[in-house]
């Protein structure tokens, strides 16, 4: 039983164990993409490199055997830089967006593609919940938002953008889910770490309301203060917004558990005594700034104010939990404008109709309009390991720019599983899995070098190659290359 040291921690492993096995034993995490327990190591991605201190060489932990007396460093700058280089290389050939442009452009990052897919399937409740969860006042915004999301919509390259703004109106159904649970989507009004703590939000404009709602979702008991007698802040002066829409939103938020203290002047001392944390949500901050207070600037662009409110809430939450401020944004792979041929490729998965103006109830027309979505977002935005590690190691997609990016291709248009070769990192897991599952056709590597591709032999259909192992392949695939067509992961 060889004994080795990993980051100074002693690990005794069985003969034949790898450095990766040893690291796991002492709870040192080593990132891997092409590794799958129970499969022979592929040694393809090279993300798992660690430093063998004695030789000074970088070795792949997944394949290097643990040898007695080895001294392994998994953290040094050299290893970090090497991993970043690997990720940058993989990203330089990654043909796919982590998020659809609509979501990326929306200041409040509404999960638009997911919302549209719920609408398309007729799950009005789920769609409404996503809008509510991300926007706090989605119906208000559906009247007054300039809808930057629609300007980013790739459907415009075919005909016109999807009608997104009107689709996040939360009609009737939204009333019900204050306390209900929608399958697959769990409203966050459940006790969490924030439970028991009380927070105050000063100001009831869009930033304030959004901040309060986010804190509420995080499990805090939240009170909104405003010297005005009606909640809504600057929204109350809006010329075209029907005030009953705003009233309904405020009512709903109150119903969801947010306390409103409106009218009397606010005593800051009282607030700071009675509450564990405070968010100031106002247009301008004059006078004293509180050292440990959080600020959410109101903004004339309401959706931007909503975004500010959410950000302040998240920051306060981290502060109260004693976590450091979350500096890093989510990593986003971006491919930019699509080529004509690529738009056509994506169109195969969406309905052909032209843009509809939603004047009537969403439940009547929302589904048809939503079905126009090209689904240009990633189907595995949360479980993608490439994204996760890119974020963790601070990867930069522009470090090694390609002359020309690869083509967006989608294989399996009418099948349960879709395969996007542009997102494949050639780790070979799916090839191994189909072989192990004794698939009649299975999957094969074809070609060589940079042109290596995964494909079903003899150009057969994807479903014929994946008769048994489809789920296993989707689960094992470290990126969004293999996914269920109707799949999609629920963000929170």
């Amino acid at each position: 039983m060889p004994e080795l040291r990993i980051n100074g921690l002693s690990a005794r492993v069985d003969d034949g164990a790898t450095v990766l096995d040893a690291a796991e034993l002492v709870f040192v995490e080593i990132p891997t993409l092409c590794h799958l327990k129970g499969c022979e190591p592929e040694t393809s991605c090279m993300l798992c490199v660690v430093k063998d201190v004695a030789t000074g060489q970088l070795i792949p932990a997944c394949s290097a055997k643990a040898i007695g007396g080895m001294e392994i460093d998994t953290e040094c700058d050299e290893v970090q830089a090497a991993r970043r280089d690997i990720l940058n290389l993989l990203l330089s050939e990654h043909v796919g967006d982590c998020e659809a442009p609509c979501t990326r452009i929306c200041p409040a990052h509404l999960d638009i593609p997911r919302m549209l897919r719920e609408l398309e399937r007729g799950h009005m409740d789920s769609a409404a919940w996503i809008a509510k969860r991300d926007l706090a006042i989605p119906s208000v915004l559906s009247h007054i938002c300039p809808a930057p999301c629609e300007k980013g919509c790739r459907r415009a390259q075919v005909d016109q953008a999807i009608t997104i703004r009107e689709l996040h109106r939360t009609e009737g159904s939204v009333r019900e889910f204050g306390n209900s649970r929608i399958p697959g989507l769990t409203p966050m009004v459940t006790p969490m770490e924030g439970a028991g703590k009380k927070v105050a939000v000063i100001g009831s404009g869009p930033a304030g309301l959004s901040s309060a709602w986010k804190l509420c979702q995080l499990g805090y008991a939240c009170t909104v203060f405003d010297e005005a007698t009606q909640a809504g802040g600057t929204l109350r002066d809006h010329k075209t917004l029907p005030m009953d829409v705003l009233d309904t939103e405020v009512e709903w938020l109150a119903g969801a558990g947010i306390e409103f203290e409106l009218g009397p002047a606010i005593s800051l001392h009282m607030v700071s005594d009675k509450f564990d944390g405070v968010v100031f949500a106002e247009t301008e901050f004059s006078g004293t700034h509180f050292a440990d207070a959080f600020y959410a600037e109101e903004h004339k662009l309401a959706v931007k104010a909503v975004a500010n409110g959410k950000a302040a809430a998240t920051a306060l939450d981290r502060f109260l939990k004693g976590e450091p401020p979350d500096a890093a944004e989510r990593f986003d792979s971006k491919i930019g404008k699509l080529r004509e041929s690529e738009v056509r490729e994506l169109c195969k998965n969406s309905s052909a109709g032209s843009r509809q103006v939603i004047t009537q109830s969403i439940s009547n027309f929302g589904g048809t309009e939503a079905a126009r979505c090209l689904h240009c977002d990633c189907r595995k935005p949360l479980s993608c390991k490439l994204r996760k590690y890119s974020e963790q190691f601070g990867a930069d997609q522009q470090e090694f720019p390609a002359d020309e990016r690869g083509h967006v291709r989608l294989i399996g248009h009418n099948e349960a599983v879709v395969f996007e070769p542009g997102k494949c990192i050639k780790c070979g897991l799916c090839v191994k899995i189909t072989k192990r599952a004794d698939e009649e056709l299975g999957l094969a590597f074809t070609g060589r070098g940079f042109n290596t591709q995964v494909a079903v032999p003899f150009g057969e259909n994807l479903q014929d190659g994946l008769k048994q192992a489809a789920r296993e392949c989707v689960d094992a695939c470290p990126t969004g290359a293999f996914a269920f067509k109707e799949g999609g992961e629920i963000k929170n």
Partner: protein, 781 residues
């Protein structure tokens, strides 16, 4: 389209080769041979009747460049883009071939007659640029001779049936005529020479042996004919034409029957009178071995791996024995045990000649000690470096020596089964080793209980299917097992876990061929040659811009300058020595200023190059170093197996930067970006291919950084990078129209006896016009 496919043929092939999954490559080779490509119906049939799976057959058939999934033309034109051909203008030749057939890259012409492909190296570096049409090799092809070449092929070669040797009569002969039958000589036309010799000798009724010999090494003067008459000084003729043969024969041999002599002479006189075919033997072609140039070429050389070069008939086992062959085996079997044998090899200081320079004895010892009943021995003959053909020549010319080396090594490590893994691009080597194996089996040198030693060995031949990466031993083993040629992480090394999981010894042809000499002459004799760390000799293929190229074997420690100046005869065409590229795509460019560097594993590594398998390409001041870096990387990039991220993506990104530089679109920071990518690829790639791929780039940046900087500014100092140069004709033009006639794309026009013009849009910058202009009126800017 495959409805009329002969399924029975597929069944026959599988029946003959075997149904196990590891037979997939030989099966595919046989199927392709039968159908000229791999029809899908045939592949599906293979899967039906064997253990080969669809995923495996799809993966393997698309991995190796030998395999074609689409039908091709009747004839295959392979334009060599090896290093030597590349520096002598193969890219323009390739363009010209496409142009003259009116097709695009990889296409087949409309008549379905020709398919054109670029190949890594035909191993005819001294005939550069070389083009192969089916089995016929054309050397020194120029852009303006391409259409003649194609016409010649269609008129003469396509229907030519090769003649077989006439049986030699026993009895006293008047002497022998030796003709080189290495690939270079064959490509240089030695087959036609052989026909002419037979005709002439028959006409004279002379009893003269025609003796084929292996490579003489003087590939720059092929085809070579040597006349040896007992008691006389042998005479060597170089660059012989078939028409010269009657004269040569008449000069040396007299007909036994005087009447025949007269008739023959009269006939040849008549021939001379009435045709313009026959010519005098040009005196300048006849060279005496004691000529200074020849003495220089051969003088510094030391023939160990190539012992008896120019004398030994490659396929004559008896002669090999007469000259001391197989003596070493007896010596070893009678006097040695494996331990002592390995310690003897250790004492000799022999290091693997495949590139890495790993001490042979250590490797052998590891295999010997590795636990396991079954052990294998492999000859790595998958030499794929562009610009290198040492292993090819050794296998072609000394097949018995290679096998003798393998038998000794197998005895040392306890291997009982072996494979000779030879590139399928080397048909002659394949033929000769196959024959040699059969001869050895007959003679009891292979088989059970060799010479009563209780040691048994059986050898098989495996044809490599065209993947440079299979020179890496774990990738080689993967392909032997019927998988895509992708390497594994080592350790475990093949010495511990190799073919079919058994301990396996892998060495290349040159390494094995040195072994018999070491045994016969003693380890000390071998260790007495060379430097402190690098013992013995090294075989190089010397090519490029030198006077005398060829295959040379020199003692380790000889300096680069000595090789270039003495053996190579200096730079040709009055240009200046700029650099030498050693070690092919894994090696580096060493500038002329470091010409004192000795040929030694460590010394070469210290200057950023490496021994590699032994390409030695000399560059002059007209060669652009950025373009050279681009050339080598485009080779390794296309040969990357695609397994590990650094090599698969990193080499691609590096190539993009280099392509940009060569196109005059370089950006500030490109050099640094290249260096950073090179560090990543070098440091983190899985196998030797990736780990060494950046070497040519790093060394050219190190020694020729100013050229990279110039390219960023949009200048190519050597005037080589096509996008940055323009051809024009100045007023010195006399209107002779030579340039216009030779232009492959009709870009040059003008009235006779006036100044001609070049259309820059049409011009492909093949440089032909500049070369043919009698008054140097073509200028490059």
């Amino acid at each position: 389209m495959n409805t009329d496919l002969d399924i029975l043929e597929v069944d026959r092939i599988v029946g003959e080769i075997g149904r196990d999954a590891s037979s997939v490559i030989p099966i595919l080779q046989a199927v392709q041979k039968a159908f000229k490509y791999l029809p899908e119906a045939a592949l599906r049939r293979v899967c039906e009747i064997s253990d080969v799976t669809p995923a495996q057959i799809e993966g393997v058939s698309s991995f190796f460049s030998q395999f074609r999934r689409a039908p091709v033309g009747k004839h295959m034109i392979s334009v060599c883009d090896g290093t030597a051909c590349h520096v002598k203008g193969s890219v323009a030749v390739y363009g010209s071939v496409l142009n003259s057939l009116g097709i695009k890259e990889g296409d087949t012409d409309t008549d379905g007659l020709f398919t054109v492909q670029k190949v890594a190296c035909l191993g005819c570096c001294t005939l550069a640029p070389a083009v192969q049409i089916d089995g016929v090799t054309y050397g020194h092809v120029r852009t303006d001779t391409v259409s003649d070449m194609i016409t010649d092929f269609l008129e003469n070669e396509a229907n030519r049936t090769p003649r077989s040797f006439q049986a030699m009569e026993d009895g006293i002969t008047m002497g022998e005529v030796r003709i080189g039958l290495g690939s270079c000589c064959v490509a240089g036309g030695s087959a036609k020479i052989r026909d002419a010799l037979e005709d002439s000798l028959a006409a004279l009724d002379c009893k003269v042996d025609i003796k084929p010999v292996g490579c003489v090494g003087m590939c720059h003067r092929t085809p070579l004919v040597e006349v040896v008459i007992p008691g006389e000084e042998p005479v060597l003729y170089a660059k012989v034409n078939p028409e010269d043969i009657p004269e040569i024969i008449e000069r040396h041999f007299r007909a036994e029957n005087p009447f025949i002599k007269i008739r023959a002479t009269a006939e040849s006189w008549l021939k001379k009178l009435y045709t313009d075919e026959a010519r005098d033997v040009p005196e300048r072609y006849s060279i005496n071995v004691r000529d200074e140039a020849v003495a220089d070429f051969l003088g510094c050389q030391q023939h160990i791996a190539t012992e008896h070069c120019g004398v030994l008939n490659p396929s004559d086992m008896e002669e090999y024995k007469r000259l001391g062959g197989f003596k070493a085996i007896k010596e070893v079997f009678l006097t040695c045990n494996p331990e002592r044998l390995i310690s003897e090899i250790g004492k000799s200081g022999l290091r693997g000649r495949g590139g890495g320079g790993f001490p042979a004895a250590q490797k052998w010892e590891a295999v010997r000690k590795a636990p396991g009943e079954k052990k294998y021995i492999i000859l790595n003959g998958d030499e794929g470096d562009p610009g290198a053909f040492m292993d090819r020549m050794i296998m072609e010319s000394y097949p018995y020596r290679v096998i003798e080396g393998m038998i000794i090594a197998s005895f040392a490590v306890g291997a009982t089964e072996g494979v000779l893994y030879v590139r399928s691009e080397y048909p002659l080597a394949l033929k000769r080793v196959r024959k040699a194996i059969a001869d050895c089996e007959k003679a009891g040198l292979l088989g059970e209980d060799i010479f009563g030693s209780k040691h048994s060995l059986s050898l098989n031949v495996f044809e490599g299917a065209g993947a440079f990466v299979c020179g890496e031993e774990s990738a080689l083993i993967a392909s032997l097992e019927g998988r895509r040629g992708m390497p594994n992480y080592r350790p475990p090394f093949p010495s511990e876990k190799g073919l079919h999981g058994c301990p396996t010894l892998v060495n290349n042809a040159e390494t094995y061929s040195l072994v018999p000499w070491i045994i016969r002459n003693g380890a000390e004799a071998f260790a007495g040659l060379g430097t402190a760390q690098s013992k013995g000799t090294k075989v190089f293929s010397l090519a490029g811009k030198i006077e005398r190229g060829g295959l040379i074997e020199v003692p380790m420690g000889i300096t680069i300058n000595e090789v270039v100046e003495q053996i190579g005869g200096g730079i040709s065409g009055g240009r200046t020595f700029k650099a030498v590229q050693i070690g092919g795509p894994s090696g580096g460019c060493i500038p002329a200023s470091l010409g004192d560097t000795p040929v030694d594993f460590e010394a070469l590594k210290d200057v950023g190059a490496m021994m590699g398998s032994g390409g030695f390409v000399v560059l002059d001041d007209s060669d652009c170093m950025v373009e050279m870096a681009h050339y080598f990387l485009s080779f390794t990039q296309s040969e990357s197996c695609g397994k590990c991220t650094p090599c698969r993506v990193g080499t691609k990104r590096m190539l993009e930067v280099l392509t940009r530089l060569c196109n005059g679109q370089g950006r500030p920071g490109d050099i640094e970006r290249l260096e950073q990518l090179a560090r990543t690829v070098k440091g983190q790639s899985l196998c030797g291919l990736g780990k060494t791929a950046p070497n040519p780039i790093l060394t050219t940046i190190q020694y020729f950084r100013d050229e990279f900087e110039a390219h960023i500014e949009g200048r190519c100092p050597a005037g080589k990078c096509q996008k940055m140069i323009a051809y024009s004709i100045n007023d010195d033009c006399i209107g002779c129209a030579k340039c216009a006639v030779g232009c492959p794309v009709e870009a040059i026009s003008g009235e006779p006896y006036s100044v001609f013009e070049i259309d820059p849009e049409l011009c492909v910058r093949c440089d032909n016009c500049r070369q043919v202009c009698p008054v140097d009126a073509v200028v490059v800017e």
